[in-house]
């Protein structure tokens, strides 16, 4: 049964009073994610915006057990929590790590890979705001091509990020885990149903959630949903789902309006025609790749139930 928004409980497991910026895509996503997860859950959050805006001691926005230690160990920490739950016979408790893109694509990639390869019984959620926002908008491996950040500034020699976004969901698919999905704070119905599916799946589950960031991306704070929607429309973000090796594209992008998406945000405003053309080319290649990969895996893993 697919969830509808009205099926979500009134109560906020991630309660109000947290200190995220107005219009924070991550906070929007986390709130909905938490409602689907319910109370039989343990949350681990590494160093990230979330570890700060979910409250400073003695406050905590989580009404479920919450654990935090350092930056790069989400995969390992949730492994430890999951094994502890197993020892206690608490099979109904879902162990969830929620990390930023820096904590996932960069410094935390090793621990993430280890946990995935061991097929730990956990959900790993990366909220992807495409830079180190907590420390003041530095480039991460997840920063898109062209984006201006404080470490990829617009200067005389180069303008914005010269590299291309690291495809962590694809890396996770390559681990052969039971469930990998991408989602977006701007598509709550798609998001909550992916969280539900993840919750109902055993083994390692990876979700990467697109989370627009007002101060980092520099757009009007009322436009978070709009920015996220445009990202999917133009192909800067794809909504995908990979179950037991079979990739499915949940929403066909229109592959247009890239320029509208870019011009909405201060981080891209400097981009010239050449840079935009390069970016357009890269996302079209990505789109072709995913279509081909989806076809291939649907054929290759048809009927496969076990992890790949």
């Amino acid at each position: 049964m697919r969830l509808k928004l009205k099926d979500l409980p009134e109560e906020n497991i991630f309660s109000s009073g947290h200190t995220a910026c107005a219009g924070c895509g991550a906070a929007m996503a986390v709130r909905n994610i938490a409602k689907v997860l319910g109370k039989e859950v343990i949350i681990y959050v590494p160093a990230s915006c979330l570890s700060v805006f979910n409250g400073l001691f003695p406050n905590c926005a989580w009404t479920v057990p919450y654990h935090h230690t350092v930056f790069e160990n989400t995969g390992a920490a949730i492994s430890g929590l999951s094994r502890a739950m197993k020892r206690k016979g608490l099979d109904d408790v879902t162990v969830v790590g929620i990390a930023g893109d820096g904590g996932t694509a960069d410094i935390g990639l090793q621990a993430l890979s280890g946990a995935a390869e061991r097929n730990e019984d956990v959900i790993y959620i990366c909220y992807d705001n495409e830079a180190y926002m907590n420390t003041g908008v530095q480039r991460s491996g997840s920063t898109p091509h062209g984006a201006s950040t404080t470490t990829t500034p617009v200067g005389k020699l180069t303008k914005g990020n010269q590299d291309f976004k690291k495809d962590v969901p694809l890396i996770m698919m390559a681990h052969g885990v039971p469930y990998v999905a991408t989602a977006s704070a701007s598509f709550p119905l798609d998001l909550i149903n992916k969280v539900k599916k993840a919750k109902e799946t055993k083994g390692f589950r990876y979700l990467q959630v697109y989370a627009p960031c007002v101060p980092g991306w520099r757009y009007e704070q009322s436009k978070t949903v709009e920015v996220g929607k445009l990202a999917v429309e133009c192909g800067m973000w794809f909504l995908l789902e990979c179950e037991n090796g079979r990739l499915k594209i949940n929403r066909e992008p229109k592959m247009k309006n890239l320029e509208t998406y870019l011009k909405m945000q201060g981080r891209f405003r400097h981009m010239d025609e050449k840079q935009i053309a390069e970016l357009q080319e890269s996302i079209e290649r990505k789109w072709e790749f995913y279509k081909g990969y989806a076809d291939l895996t649907q054929r290759l893993y048809s009927g496969s139930e076990a992890s790949v």
Binding site: V41, P65, Y66, V70, R87, V93, A111, R118
Partner: protein, 393 residues
């Protein structure tokens, strides 16, 4: 059951007997056999435990911090670079007051070093909020793993603890060890039940919430106070263990011939055995020498060292590690313990990178100490033992 084993086996056996429920560990010389033995125990069905074969030590310590925070008795072990890699998380384990036990097999860290014993892996971790005990024999390693859980889990302590043993000298040298039976361990160390807050969906807590400056200082003070209280707990648990198993390891420090000694030598780890032989030999020759085997480095037994060295005329401190530009870490601790004594305190740095510390070395150390006891002066405060280009004294 008496068996001839190395310290890695002795540790693995004690961990099994302690009914540890989550282990995360990664191999590194000279600790590797420890993770192998545990894997074998589990595969043979004689040990019932979650064993997370992580992809590195940063993850092993992260995982056991999480499992212990969830109220489950946990263990990890490492050596050298592995311990250095864990460094960041050691503060979290201490700060969250988690009674994790870690087997550390000492080995030098960094360039230029190899795979042999030195304490520059564990001693730089002294400020992370972990208790540290150093041992001399494989029997002592085994016994201290069992004691460690009882010390760490005591409500006056609730801090993690590392049991440090000399790489190769203990890990790869076999000797007869009395391996504890399950029933006797169950009586000494009952199955773990967390008596403090832990991550429980029925009773949620936040563990490790970012802490503003209004609170951090008090948390730090509580760790300091627990560390001080741990001194009593170490002594108590040692007595309980001696009652239960008939083996008395003397708690914080063990002394030999200290009643009327003029010159005392403070040791840690296996060099104690070498020094023990030399002290006995010198005593037969009428030399008034004594030996203090320091077992706890954190908390450092300040009062006990001041007490046992109260009437000596010179104190030597053994250091298998260096704090460059000052002297050895152990020397600094001992000097602090003897701050109101006016006898010479001399640091003897040696055995670095696994270099053998010989009886001849220890004889020359005692010669320097007896001379200082006679004159009341040290020629130098820091001596480099058997170091090419350096003359002792």
């Amino acid at each position: 059951m008496r068996r001839v084993v190395g310290s890695n086996y002795a540790t693995a056996h004690a961990v099994m007997r302690a009914r540890v429920e989550v282990i995360a560990a990664y191999p590194i010389t000279p600790q590797t056999q420890m993770v192998e033995h545990i894997a074998k125990f589990i595969n043979d069905g004689i040990m019932d435990c979650e064993y997370i074969k992580v992809e590195g030590e940063h993850s092993s310590i992260s995982a056991v911090i999480a499992s212990q925070a969830a109220g489950v008795r946990s263990f990890t072990s490492t050596a050298s670079q592995g311990l250095a890699l864990m460094h960041e998380l050691l503060f979290s384990a201490g700060g969250l007051r988690l009674p994790i036990v870690m087997g550390v097999v000492n080995r030098s860290v960094g360039s230029t070093g190899g795979i042999w014993v030195e304490y520059n892996d564990s001693m730089p971790q002294r400020d992370c909020g972990w208790l540290q005990m150093y041992v001399e024999t494989n029997q002592e390693v085994h016994d201290m793993i069992l004691q460690a859980y009882k010390i760490a889990e005591d409500k006056r302590v609730l801090l993690p603890i590392m049991i440090c043993s000399d790489g190769f000298i203990l890990s790869h040298t076999v000797e007869p060890v009395e391996l504890a039976e399950q029933e006797e361990v169950d009586e000494f160390l009952p199955k773990y039940e967390a008596r403090h807050s832990y991550l429980d969906p029925k009773d949620p807590i936040g563990s490790g919430i970012v802490t503003p400056r209004e609170y951090r200082q008090e948390f730090a003070y509580q760790i300091h106070r627990a560390m001080l209280e741990a001194k009593d707990v170490i002594e108590e648990v040692n007595r309980d263990f001696a009652d239960a198993f008939g083996r008395d390891h003397s708690g914080l420090v063990e002394t030999e011939f200290m009643d009327d000694a003029d010159a005392a030598f403070l040791t840690l780890g296996t060099v104690t055995s070498t020094a023990r032989g030399v002290v006995r030999e010198l005593r037969e020759k009428g030399k008034k020498v004594g030996l203090v085997k320091v077992r706890a480095f954190r908390p450092y037994p300040v009062e006990k060292i001041a007490e046992v060295c109260g009437d000596v005329k010179a104190v030597g401190v053994y250091d298998r590690s260096v704090s460059f530009g000052v002297g050895g870490p152990h020397y600094l601790e001992a000097r602090n313990a003897l701050f109101d004594s006016d006898v010479p305190v001399i640091d003897f740095i040696g055995g670095l990178g696994g270099r053998d510390v010989t009886e001849a070395d220890v004889r020359s150390i005692y010669e320097v100490l007896l001379e200082a006891a006679k004159t009341g002066k040290a020629k130098r405060n820091v001596e480099w033992v058997s170091t090419r280009g350096v003359a002792l004294g």
